[in-house]
Symmetry: C2
């Protein structure tokens, strides 16, 4: 169909047809959910033996002799740093390891900038008109942290090898009120983009106008490929920045949340020793330190990157069929119609789908009516506003294949309905 000059009679006929299908779905009173980027129970079961590895018979001293039961150790155990460093491909002296929420560390890193200021700059709470770059589509929880702290959120378009670096440079190198950028460099949320070597090098080469500008590099999916036999890699951004003469430019984050237990993992930040020093001088006021016994538990269970990779291959075996199921239904129902396009990610937790402009909110609302919950349309944009109203994030990890199949079919029906409705408005 020609979307510019749609055949109105045909649109009405199709709308009628899919409206009937939709009503039949509604009658089933389904309750399905593809909104949550949570691992499934089968994935959580893979780590159950971790709960036995620290027990009443264990030595609870760390390798360097700290009694992990007691107070102390603001930035984590030596062996936890070594372990997380291997995951990130950085030197252990670049790493600090904390509690169960890497989001909390990102929040605190910005909090530190707000209260203390970074590298001798004025505390950000006293700096007016601060801005933060948000590659779109992106992760709502990232955007919301910087919104909370009063930054103006600037959307930056994504390409298929990372954020548009011309746009990034035009802000970062010219405007001293731009203080940071959110990045998910591997299997980006939701687009699944793996940043290219060139993009990473251009990040490291940035010459920010603001001395307190930092890249927030959330390597959340560092070992979360769906095709372990054909691994994707990104360069060590901390090393790249150092090599480019900008050692303090980046904080890299990761966690074992989606490797072990999302509520009970450990998180890490990799950054220059200078950045660590500043951050720790703040954190010592904010906490008595992380749960070190849980750090022992994680490290003694996984031991090293090789084991993590074996473990993540089992995750992939559970996840991959779900992604392929969604993609095959989308292809079967909507392939070649021009009504939607979607990503075929090689890792991470999401499929990113774009409808025709102006349809996404309507699709999500219709699906809700038929008993299927998706992430709110717009959530992948700053302030929850997708200017095109076209992006929908699909999260197939938590649901079973038996749930994913009808949920995706309903999604396709809703996309058809919303599309024909939109065409009839013309």
């Amino acid at each position: 169909m020609d979307f510019e000059r749609p055949d109105r009679a045909l649109c009405r006929a199709e709308l009628e047809k899919y409206r009937l299908e939709f009503e039949k779905y509604k009658e089933q009173n389904l309750q399905l959910n593809l909104a949550r980027g949570n691992p499934s129970k089968a994935q959580l079961d893979l780590s159950m033996k971790m709960l036995d590895i620290v027990n009443s018979h264990s030595v609870l001293d760390s390798e360097d002799g700290i009694d992990c039961r007691n107070y102390g150790g603001l930035d984590g155990l030596f062996e936890a740093k070594a372990f997380m460093a291997e995951l990130l491909g950085v030197h252990p002296n670049k790493v600090m390891v904390f509690g169960n929420s890497s989001l909390q560390i990102m929040f605190q890193a910005i909090n530190f900038a707000m209260v203390d200021g970074v590298s001798g700059c004025e505390p950000m709470m006293f700096q007016k008109d601060r801005k933060w770059l948000c590659p779109v589509p992106g992760y709502d929880r990232h955007f919301n942290i910087t919104m909370k702290f009063g930054f103006e959120l600037i959307p930056v378009p994504m390409t298929d090898e990372g954020p548009d670096m011309d746009v990034v440079r035009s802000y970062v190198e010219k405007d001293p009120s731009v203080k940071g950028i959110w990045c998910v460099p591997k299997y980006s949320n939701p687009g699944g983009v793996v940043y290219s070597q060139r993009v990473c090098e251009e990040f490291a080469a940035l010459e920010p106008a603001a001395h307190d500008f930092r890249i927030f590099w959330d390597n959340a999916y560092c070992v979360h490929g769906l095709y372990p036999d054909h691994e994707d890699t990104i360069p060590d951004i901390v090393g790249l920045c150092e090599k480019a003469g900008h050692p303090d430019l980046v904080y890299e984050f990761c966690s074992t949340s989606k490797i072990s237990f999302p509520g009970a993992g450990i998180s890490a930040v990799a950054t220059s020793v200078h950045n660590q020093k500043g951050f720790k001088s703040f954190l010592q006021y904010a906490t008595i330190g992380p749960n070190k016994i849980n750090q022992l538990r994680q490290v003694r269970f996984f031991k090293n990157l090789a084991n993590v990779k074996k473990h993540m291959a089992k995750h992939a075996d559970i996840m991959r069929p779900k992604f392929e199921l969604v993609e095959s239904i989308l292809e079967k129902e909507l392939g070649g119609t021009g009504m939607a396009e979607w990503t075929k990610p090689r890792g991470g937790y999401f499929i990113s789908l774009n409808t025709l402009p102006g349809c996404a909110k309507r699709v999500v609302a219709l699906a809700k009516e038929a008993g299927v919950t998706f992430t709110n349309a717009g959530a992948t944009y700053p302030y929850g506003i997708d200017p095109q109203d076209s992006n929908i994030r699909l999260a197939p990890s938590f649901a079973t294949p038996e749930q994913i199949e009808p949920a995706t079919e309903i999604l396709c029906t809703c996309i058809r309905l919303a599309t024909y409705e939109k065409l009839l408005e013309k």
Copy 2:
């Protein structure tokens, strides 16, 4: 000896005598530490079985059906709330339960006031000349949080039944720039004071000039009596405030850090539903939520207050002899000399000792020279400045009796030295 008109010859002779004793101690190259308020290894061993209670065979759903391994649950599990509520003597609907650091929750509660503002008031980061009341002597980590956030710290004298409430009222009810007060209501750090019913009621009856004033009631030692057969009690401050018509006046904090493992306990805050709502609307940006598996571990191990009390009686059996040892040496060496006075706490982690004015720093420095570390003199006052330079905090929990004995004897020698030095200055 008449300290106003000291016998200078006698002072010199005594100084000489104790200087020799001091030199002998120095020759022993001791390395002792009474600075840290850490539980001892023997105390930590009491909770080892907790490490077995959640294992690979456990049901990891909470009582209300949440899979504790996964994401979700910003304010803690239902059963964790019920458990911590029993410890605090409040209704479970007043309680939120978080991770391993109650200090972190206090920090975040002030952070929330800074960023969002409390009860519709302007965010505190935009309010100039904020003040915070600090009963003295008190806890340096408390004082430091409010210092970090730019509050002017106002010392408030302690009496033997709590802070001087006339002073508290004169600030809180007259000065709208006073935004909060730190309290350790049971076995205060370091004075060991148990707030009286009258003081608690007067706190609940406060009519603050600032709508965003809050009492920070750190009930850190709620079940930490040294004499379990003769328990000390304080009233439920959350209930008292509600009864007095000020339901939002207080945040009460506690944790299981010094009940189970200091690095791996769980923390709680009890406050009105209205305060909870505000705090949670902030926290949802700051974290993905607490480690729920660790909440299960704690709750399934202790089950209820009765078990906690039995458990804490074992802690007391380890702690009590250490406190009594310090007190008996102080009494034997310095009793009746007028050179020092000290508390005989019925619970908590500290003995608070006062030297003659102007001697505390010198005592701690001398002790250091002889190989014994105490908390820095002044640490118990805002900005680390004890205007009398007389307070020293003794922490006998971590050391063994074999370490405590020489450490306390050296302390007494150093007090004598510093005292005679001071008298000879006159």
